[in-house]
Amino acid sequence: MSKTYTDVEQMICLSSRLIEDNRTVFVGYGMPQIAAILAQKLYSPNICQVYEYGAIGPEVATPFKRNMMADARNSYRSYSWMSMNRMMAQAQMGYIDYGFLGAAQIDKYGNINSTIIGKDYEKPKKRFTGSGGGNEVASLCWKTIVLMQHEKRRFLERVDFITSPGYLDGPGARENAGLPRDSGPHRVVSSKALFDFDVKSKVMRLIGLCPGVTKEDVLENMEFEPVVADKLEQLGPPTEDELKILREEIDPDRVVIGRID
């Protein structure tokens, strides 16, 4: 049977189910914006989305426009409108429970690269956007959730450039660097699987598989070997409700979620 949804839809739906209600969520640019809208519409109506540009608690109006952040839809029906220094300060103060980010590459300790591919900073093979607010989100929120396409070139032993911190080089490294105590990556949602981080080694740990995906399929498409949980959760496919809201309300032109081939 052929798939009735895209990889991106799978990732967005899966991550939307991970946000606890009644929590503050610092939402990053791109896919996380869509997942947060879906979460609020279906699962956690009382999350308070916060954005680096100053919106606190918006009920983001749909449809979602790609590449857009800080427009009137994004800021719709907020509790408050502030500005960047205050938002980052609030994360630094411990007010923000979840950080929600996308990334180009991630490594076994959850370090994120969104800056360059290649070792030569002056002349990178490929340049990306850089941190944006990602460094603050990954440094200062309590728990960070990262959304990633599952490809071998993206799940690396060591990223070319640590844009935003995961557990750096292992246990104790965040605290040694001066980063806030008890913060760090919490979940990684890929197009094939769900990961958390091994408590002791701080290495990414496979805990769930997307429908139709085997453990081998996941591991073959990663450069490093993650810790594997004793029991792997079988993750559900996107539900009818999720797909209906995604396709009819949030992204009717399917510019982000894509179409089935």
């Binding site: 100053g54 800080a70 960047m84 980052m88 002349k123 340049r127 956007t129 850089g130 607010g133 001066g178």
Partner: protein
């Protein structure tokens, strides 16, 4: 306080007392009318080699008409604070105006990345938050502020920040140096002829950027009377004595939106995004910047009043603005 680690990025450092003197000697407190056209504002207050900073982005309340004028006047060798930027840096780099970018977010699009990959422009990586904080330090008249981000990362290594053990409780913190841009360009909803300015909606750092900068060019959707300003002073974001020039630029954020007033121009943005190389971007710039004499002419080219009325109608969300 010992420095434990230093980032290698180049920093434009300025002595806080020199900055104070500039603010005393070069920015007038007199109620002088500062309204001028964009050609004069950019010619008088922005020169080759300057460090420039803007608020928000090409997509939202960005000072696009002034950015286009900078390209039109072929300014060179600018150093840009790219905090929360989208197509702004892309346009300025495509116009050949930029030599260095302090990266918060190096948005957006292939032409910009092509310029970086080929070493045409130099980057110094920071983050949106630390660039915003550097403007706050600049706006406070202190040489630096501490942050608990950047730590442990390559972003730190390529920034100009330092890590110290702070002297009170002994924790490691990052220190980021103040930034006092040569020029701020900020698009606002309303201001009076002296520069008392109102920004509606959430924002990045409009006040910090204006306060910290040596020259401030305000472009505005409309001029309102000082009496109106004084009837509701809580709405004033930027006070007049920070401002050097006021440029009247209705729809100045086009193709971006001014939230609560007009929507973004999707069709035009698509044309902008369609430029996938510096060469293609140069064609876009020729067509919309170098072939237009100024903002008014540009607006005619992108559809004039009729198109703007459509974009106003498309902005159905009004609550909270004005």
């Amino acid at each position: 306080m010992d420095v434990l680690e230093s980032g290698m990025g180049e920093v434009l450092l300025q002595d806080v007392d020199d900055v104070r003197e500039w603010m005393r000697d070069k920015k007038t407190r007199a109620l002088e009318e500062k309204v001028m056209d964009e050609h004069e504002a950019v010619r008088r207050f922005l020169k080759d080699g300057d460090y420039i900073s803007y608020d928000l982005s090409s997509m939202v309340r960005g000072p696009m008409s002034i950015e286009r004028e900078i390209v039109r006047q072929k300014k060179k060798d600018l150093w840009i604070a790219a905090k929360f930027t989208l197509l702004d840096t892309t346009l300025l780099v495509g116009g050949g105006c930029v030599s260095k970018i302090d990266v918060g977010f190096a948005g957006l699009g292939r032409p910009l990345f092509e310029a970086i990959e080929n070493g045409i422009v130099k980057t110094i990586d920071w983050s949106n938050g630390t660039l915003a904080l550097r403007h706050l330090a600049g706006a406070m008249g202190v040489p630096f502020l501490p942050a608990r981000s950047l730590l442990g990362t390559d972003t730190f290594k390529h920034s100009g920040a330092k890590v110290v053990e702070e002297p009170f409780t002994g924790k490691k913190v990052a220190l980021v140096p103040a930034i006092n841009p040569d020029v701020a360009i900020i698009h606002v909803n309303q201001c009076d002829v002296y520069g008392n300015s109102r920004v509606y909606g959430p924002s990045i750092t409009p006040l910090e950027t204006a306060a910290a900068s040596k020259n401030v060019i305000i472009s505005t959707e409309e001029i309102i009377s000082t009496d109106e300003i004084k009837k509701d002073p809580g709405k004033t974001t930027i006070p007049y004595y920070m401002v050097n020039a006021v440029v009247v630029a209705p729809y100045g954020a086009h193709p971006g939106t001014v939230p609560g007033y007009y929507s973004y121009d999707s069709e035009h943005l698509e044309e902008f995004f369609a430029a996938r190389s510096l060469e293609e971007l140069a064609e876009y710039i020729d067509k919309y910047v170098h072939s237009t004499s100024g903002h008014e002419d540009y607006m005619e080219m992108v559809g004039g009043d009729a198109r703007m009325e459509e974009l106003k109608k498309a902005e159905w969300i009004k609550e909270g603005y004005y």
